[in-house]
Amino acid sequence: MSVRTLPLLFLNLGGEMLYILDQRLRAQNIPGDKARKDEWTEVDRKRVLNDIVSTMFNRKFMEELFKPQELYSKKALRTVYDRLAHASIMRLNQASMDKLYDLMTMAFKYQVLLCPRPKDVLLVTFNHLDAIKGLIQDSPTILHQVDETFRQLMEVYCGLSAGEFQLIRQTLLIFFQDLHIRVSIFLKDKVQNSNGRFVLPVSGPVPWGTEVPGLIRMFNHKGEEVKKIKFKHGGNYVTATKEGSFELYGDRVLKLGTNMYSLNRPVDTQTSGASKNSTSRAQENIAPNPLAKEELNFLARLMGGMEIKNPSGPEPGFRLNLFTTDDEEEQAALTKPEELDNKVINIQAMQDQQRSEELARILGELEVTDQPRWSTSKGDDLLAMMDEL
């Protein structure tokens, strides 16, 4: 299992989250002068995106993220996105947050599965970052933060071998195994079947560095080619035209990871496949997680590094609904199985002065003196602290 997978997982899922939020905010956009107090304007949208991107690419947070570590459970990761989504004036109900997370996960699963080469997951990540830069181009400070992360990605990943990328790819695919939530934009485009499985095309360009299948070449003892035979391989492939760019700026060539949502193609999940999913999710919850303590430590470190700019103070939170109507959202909340709630560790996403100081102090300790990882007693303290929330 690769210990370099988390940054790629986090950044790509984050990218998908921003695409979806941006699309929903635009869809509910009201011109500034006509907006009521509780309606979204263009200014609000930009502000939400700026806040989230700036939190996501915070330097301390990125430092924690890039440390070599195993992937944690989907639950632990989900908690980080919950916090991230609430980094601004926007509020999401549980049902909308569930839907958001489902969409994010299925989109990135699709991208990883369809990557021609394992290394292309880096191009997918760069596509997300390019698009994120487009969303916040009015803010030079945040742009700089994103570029810094770009450089860090290049430094860590551009030198990895094909074998190491294959291990990263396998690590990601294991994380996404058995997720078959149907997404209507995928169903419409025929990239997903009605049983939730993705369509793997057997046509199109081959990966860069691969030849079009169909040729057998035979050589003699001296290494001279003596025969060439064609065989019918069953697909309909063509040669790749060019390789995507791994530089800070460039043509990525690959379309995976670019924004597939737009005003005319609203995001939507179908819930009829949900019952099958929830059984496997419930099973995952029942087994005790031996890494639970480590996951809490990880979350504390990550969230200690997350600077939330807007405490839920005097400003009212604007609620964003990922469903078409409020009734639909309520309906979705009601049909969600009970088991999913019971085992969730509730970590408050609210800003708490005392706790942030505590976490910041702990984080500070880790940074300055390079202390070894938490001893058991510290972990217990953290658990106790979390229980108090």
Binding site: V3, E70, A162, G163, Q177, T210, E211, H221, K232, G234
Partner: protein, 314 residues
Amino acid sequence: MKLSLSPFLLPSTLYTANISSKAQAAQQHTVKSVARFLSLSVPAPRACSAQSMRVHWCVLPFRVLLVLTSHRGIQMFESDGSIMVYWHALDTGDAPPVQAVFARGIAASGHFICVGTWSGRVLVFDIPAKGPNIMLSEELAGHQTSITDIATEPVQGGDCMADVVTADDSGLLCVWRSGPEFTLVTRIPGFGVPCPSVKLWQGIVAAGYGNGQVRLYEAMKGTLHVQISAHARTICALDLAPEVGKLLSAAEDTFVHIWKLSRSPESGSIEVEHCHGECVSNTQLCGARFCDPSGSSFAVTGYDLAEILRFSSV
């Protein structure tokens, strides 16, 4: 070829398929010995640890051992999975924190079992005819990057000089002669892509690569005889039906191809012919194996696939 979707008990030569999909298959169908073994012995409840696992039934002269590798170490069981006879913890001493640690690649040669590791070292274990007195006999140093696969061939007569092949993430192949001390016979350099699967048959090394190529080499000298642009994605598994010289290649491009290997009577050069291709729609394959030594049927496993699919010739 007729497709029959059926659970069934696999013969003694088994997959080295990616264990996570295999575990699902085993749990959902009554593939008894595999399922029982997995429920008995797998300590890690999380999919993460299971991912680095490989499984292989090692057929030795007087016994069959079930060998399991993971990121923690190597376990050897009696063939029905009932008793663990040996445990070897992986030495992580000089691994940097950024390095994934695991054992991968398992094969039996005579009374030895060879297991590859993340560092490129190949561990050679000496197995007694019975009992748990297994010893680490040697550590082969021929590779600098993680081992992907190991293949062996039963020594035929006194003049077989190459009976073990090891492959790694850089595509390098090392050909060895087994014995109380293993000897390196030849090295076949890689070309920038991993070699996830390798097989050895009658002095022919068959290697499947990350760019979809299958290459056939003369084992003793390492000369390239055949290069096939076989697949559009990385090859995940090769298998051989030794009675007839059939080679099976399965890849992440959803295809399985069957090839017939032979030697030209005049020149002794290796030749190959394409026999059959099968598309397992929308399934990124991760394991494939002939079900019998005559190659009349084969089975595959795939990512997100809960079943083992079996194909038989009509």
